[in-house]
């Protein structure tokens, strides 16, 4: 039976398109295991990289004896290192993510699934975690873990309020490795997102922020005398919404997005704003590709 595209985390068509992609990082990380990824580091593999002079202590197995015969000097052959990459998908699972159609959380899960799939296909280590902090997966590696990954994502539900800073702290404590962090969030944290992002940058990780906003946040269809109730802290705001207020709201939103973009740009964080109703394969293959997360 065909399922609604929005409710399926990864459809076969999307998987087919993603299969050819791979995750890219701008930073050099030491992989824990041999992977399929050519590292910037020199190591052991079949692919020749360079020569260097022998220094005492080097592994004699890598001395190029033919060269020694010709030049009477000892040189070591260096090979390209192949290693794996850590992909951390950090999903904001706060109640505010349950808005929109499909919900922002659903969109975030689809995005994490897509990136995770790309990582698993390339034997990268994929870790899924939520800012709410209730669930955290053990690193997954290899395509065989795809279903495990999807199962984990399926179990993610909007949970109790947790500030972004607390979520990041908890994430940092649980995951000590380095790699790519894709933070999928709406950044709607009244205490601010800046400290949390700084903490992630401090771990020398390649950070991507995918800023999800539902259409009702981008262009709210509200008018009249209303009592707005915050879905996270149940905070109530009495407001008379008219055209002027709506215009002002849009200005505030633009300003908020612009500040986030600027903050990220200054700290080499890749920032992507996307509405929650945008197709996830488009986000991955077009927007994230443009920003260098996948190639």
């Amino acid at each position: 039976m065909p399922q609604d595209q929005s409710s399926v985390l990864l459809s076969p068509e999307v998987m087919a398109r993603l299969e050819r992609l791979e995750l890219v990082t701008r930073k050099v990380f030491r992989g824990r295991m041999k992977g399929e990824r050519r590292s910037h580091r020199k190591g052991e593999s079949v692919e020749f990289a360079d020569y260097r002079s022998y220094v005492p202590g080097d592994d004699l197995r890598f001395i190029d004896w033919n060269l020694y015969a010709r030049l009477d000097r000892l040189y070591l052959k260096l090979f390209q290192e192949e290693e794996d990459l850590h992909l951390y998908c950090l999903i904001d699972a706060s109640p505010s993510m349950s808005f929109g159609n499909p919900t922002k959380l659903q969109c975030a899960k689809q995005l994490a699934a897509a990136l995770g799939f790309v990582g698993l296909c390339r034997s990268d280590r994929v870790v899924l975690d939520t800012l709410g902090g209730l669930k955290s997966s053990s690193p997954l590696r290899g395509r065989a873990h795809l279903w495990r990954m999807l199962e984990l994502l399926d179990q993610i539900e909007p949970n109790d309020t947790c500030s972004m800073l607390d979520g990041v702290k908890r994430f940092s404590l649980r995951n000590s490795g380095k790699g790519i962090i894709v933070l999928i969030t709406d950044l709607m944290d009244k205490s601010g997102y800046e400290t949390a992002l700084r903490m992630l940058i401090g771990r020398q990780m390649d950070l991507f922020v995918v800023h999800l906003l539902s259409p009702e946040e981008i262009d709210p269809q509200l008018l009249g005398d209303l009592r707005l109730i915050d879905s996270e802290d149940r905070d109530e705001t009495e407001i008379t919404i008219n055209r002027a207020v709506l215009k002002k709201y849009r200005n505030t939103l633009d300003q908020f997005v612009s500040q986030a973009k600027q903050f990220c740009a200054r700290r080499s964080i890749t920032y992507l704003l996307t509405p929650s109703d945008r197709a996830v394969d488009v986000i991955v293959t077009q927007y994230l590709r443009e920003r260098g997360l996948v190639q």
Binding site: D189, E217, R227, I229, D235, I239, A244, V245
Partner: protein, 657 residues
């Protein structure tokens, strides 16, 4: 601009609580709809500056509250009844009475008085407020409601502009009755009438009378809720000489000679010399010059010879302010005898009295026995009405004939007539000498042996009163007149006829018969045709023979008129002055001629009245414009309602500024 407070102080104090109440209710009434949003983070940042001076911000931002306060302000202002002084405003309900009688065609005002009256009425209509209503009634000798109460100025203007001049006389009574009927519903408007009470809610109205005042004072008219205003039309010193009478009479001595007599009246206030011309069938046959002093009447005489018939026109050649009375018309009709039938058992005294030279000149007498009127021949002939007068002497027919009758000593078989118990002797006590039948009669010396008290139908006239009651009376029967004497000339006693009264040997008897022939036979010495006033109805006697006749008016247009069940036709289309001819529709034979003339001294008297009287109340002529107050509260209330509608629309459509 002035204000009139329509509420007491305490009411104002209560009302002043409304604006604060609206502001308070505005804040209290707000029922904000709860809506769960992802985060109020951005909304809070949005309204951060709105929270500064939030009360003032709310006031400033919300147009609905403003509109409500403005609406209340307008309503308060309405209650203060602001207004200003105005000079040309009609009352709330106005009735415009416009005179279009003959005198209103006088040209002392240019182009004529009616045009000026219409102009003034139109000015009043133009100054009407939109909520005012008015109606238009034109009147001459009758009233015509041209336009019922309406606030539509276009209709009122059309009604006024549609009023045309007429040749009719003036009688404002009917117009006033129509106006009073609207202002005093259920009332007869008769003064001193105790039963004249208001049965429905009165609707007071201003009554504007545009007239020259050429009508008599209405002593018995109560205007009730009508507030009359008389707008006199006409210059104070108009010049008019009018013809007020024209007759043509055959000379009693010489039958071929006709005397034409006209009467002229000078209503100008200066001596005026005029030329009067007499035309026979539009050919000038005589003329005379005369000088009339102010207010003086003068007769003009013309003697005509060897003229059998024709149309006579008397014309004043000099123009004055009223041309309608400068011409008069009459016709000369050939002499004719009436057909008189005497039904009697035999009465020598009656036969002798009808053989006098004067009686034979006026009537062709046919004597018949009672059998004759019961015969089929008579019944057939009766339908054609061959007799102008039938005298029943001591006999009664089975049914009343289609002609005038005189019953002597017998009861007519008509409803209402009857004899009482026979009484003897009978003493005459009074004679009604005002009646044309009883003119020149001296009856006191007449002795009557036996008679009966006479019962007569309603509407009858007592002619002779005796100690036993009425013994001679006349009563109309449709178009006919029946005269009944309750004492016979001869009576039967012991099988023989004996004299019952000595009246036949007295001079009054043949005179009475002559009066009877002249009055009941409709004959007189006048050679001229009947004359009626313009618009007045005339009874045309056509008998039973014709079911319809054709009437040709002076302009040449003819009207077909049907008779109905009566032997006469009431013809009302007499608006055009001149000689009208009544013709048979088939052969075109002239049955009768009658003339329509403005013989009305009151219409000829065109000096405009300065005041008019209604039941003891005198209304002085006043300018059409009256000082009044122009009120604005209706506009303000309408504005308030309009604003309330706008506020409601804004509320519904959430149009926030």
């Amino acid at each position: 601009m002035s204000f009139i407070s329509s509420l007491p102080l305490w009411a104002w104090l209560l009302l002043l609580l409304i604006p604060p109440a609206i502001i308070a209710l505005y804040f209290l009434k707000l029922k904000r709809a709860p809506i769960v949003v992802p985060s109020t983070f951005l909304w809070r940042r949005t309204i951060e500056d709105l929270h500064v001076n939030s009360l003032w911000q709310r006031l400033q931002k919300n147009i609905l509250l403003y509109l409500q306060l403005i609406v209340v302000a307008f309503l308060f202002l309405s209650l203060l009844r602001p207004g200003c002084r105005s000079e040309s405003q009609l009352g709330q309900r106005s009735i415009l009475l416009i005179d279009h009688s003959a005198s209103m065609s006088a040209t002392d005002e240019k182009p004529n008085r009616l045009a000026v009256a219409k102009d003034k009425a139109l000015q009043l209509v133009d100054s009407m407020a939109s909520s005012d209503v008015a109606m238009v009634i034109s009147f001459s000798d009758r009233a015509d409601i041209k336009q019922g109460f309406t606030s539509d100025r276009r209709q009122l203007r059309a009604a006024i502009e549609g009023i045309q001049t007429t040749n009719r006389t003036t009688d404002i009574r009917e117009a006033l009755r129509a106006a009073a009927g609207l202002a005093n519903p259920g009332r007869t408007s008769e003064i001193d009438n105790v039963n004249d009470i208001q049965v429905a809610e009165a609707m007071p109205a201003d009554l504007y009378i545009f007239s020259d005042g050429g009508f008599s004072e209405l002593q018995d008219f109560d205007l009730g809720n009508l507030a009359p205003k008389f707008i006199s039309i006409g210059k104070p010193e108009p010049s008019n000489i009018g013809i007020v009478a024209l007759t043509a009479t055959r000379n009693a001595e010489r039958e071929d000679e006709i005397e034409v007599y006209g009467r002229l009246v000078n209503h100008a206030n200066i001596d005026t010399s005029i030329t009067t011309e007499l035309y026979l069938d539009e050919n000038l046959i005589d003329a005379t010059k005369s000088t009339l002093k102010p207010g003086e009447e003068e007769g003009v005489n013309f003697q005509l010879r060897d003229i059998e018939s024709g149309k006579l026109t008397l014309r004043i050649t000099d123009n004055d302010d009223l041309l309608a009375d400068n011409e008069a018309f009459t016709t000369i009709t050939p002499p004719s005898k009436i057909e008189l039938l005497v039904v009697t058992k035999g009465n020598k005294a009656l036969e002798i009295a009808l053989e006098t030279p004067q009686a034979t000149k006026l009537a062709r007498v046919k004597l018949a026995a009672i059998d004759y009127i019961e015969s089929e021949d008579f019944k057939k002939a009766n339908l054609e009405n061959p007799f102008d007068l039938i005298i029943f002497d001591g006999v009664s027919p089975q049914s009343m004939p289609f002609s005038n009758t005189l019953f002597i000593g017998s009861v007519p078989p008509a409803e209402g007539w009857g004899f009482g118990e026979s009484q003897s002797p009978v003493m005459i006590v009074d004679t009604n000498k005002n009646h044309p039948l009883m003119q020149y009669l001296e009856m006191n010396s007449v002795r009557i042996v036996e008679g009966y008290p006479l019962k007569m139908p309603a509407g009858g006239t007592r002619l002779l009163e005796a100690d036993i009651g009425t013994i001679l009376a006349a009563a109309p029967r449709g178009p006919y007149l029946d005269v009944v004497s309750s004492f016979p000339l001869v009576r039967e006693e012991d099988g023989s006829m004996v004299t019952n009264t000595d009246w036949p040997i007295r001079r009054s008897f043949p005179i009475f018969l002559l009066n009877t022939i002249e009055t009941l036979g409709n004959t007189d010495a006048d050679a001229s045709a009947r004359s009626v006033l313009p618009g007045q109805a005339i009874a045309l006697k056509v008998g039973q023979r014709l079911s319809e006749v054709q009437v040709v008016d002076p302009t040449g247009s003819s009207t077909q008129v049907s008779r109905g069940s009566m032997s006469q036709i009431i013809f009302t289309q007499t608006d055009n002055k001149g000689v009208h001819e009544v013709l048979t529709p088939d052969s075109g034979e002239i049955l009768e001629r009658f003339s329509v003339n403005l013989f009305s001294p009151r219409e000829s008297q065109i000096v405009p009245a300065e005041k008019i009287g209604f039941g003891g109340e005198t209304v002085t002529a006043s300018p059409a414009k009256t000082p009044s107050r122009r009120e604005f509260w209706r506009w303000l209330t309408a504005l308030a309602i309009g604003l309330l509608t706008v506020e409601w629309i804004i509320y519904l459509r959430r149009i926030f500024l």
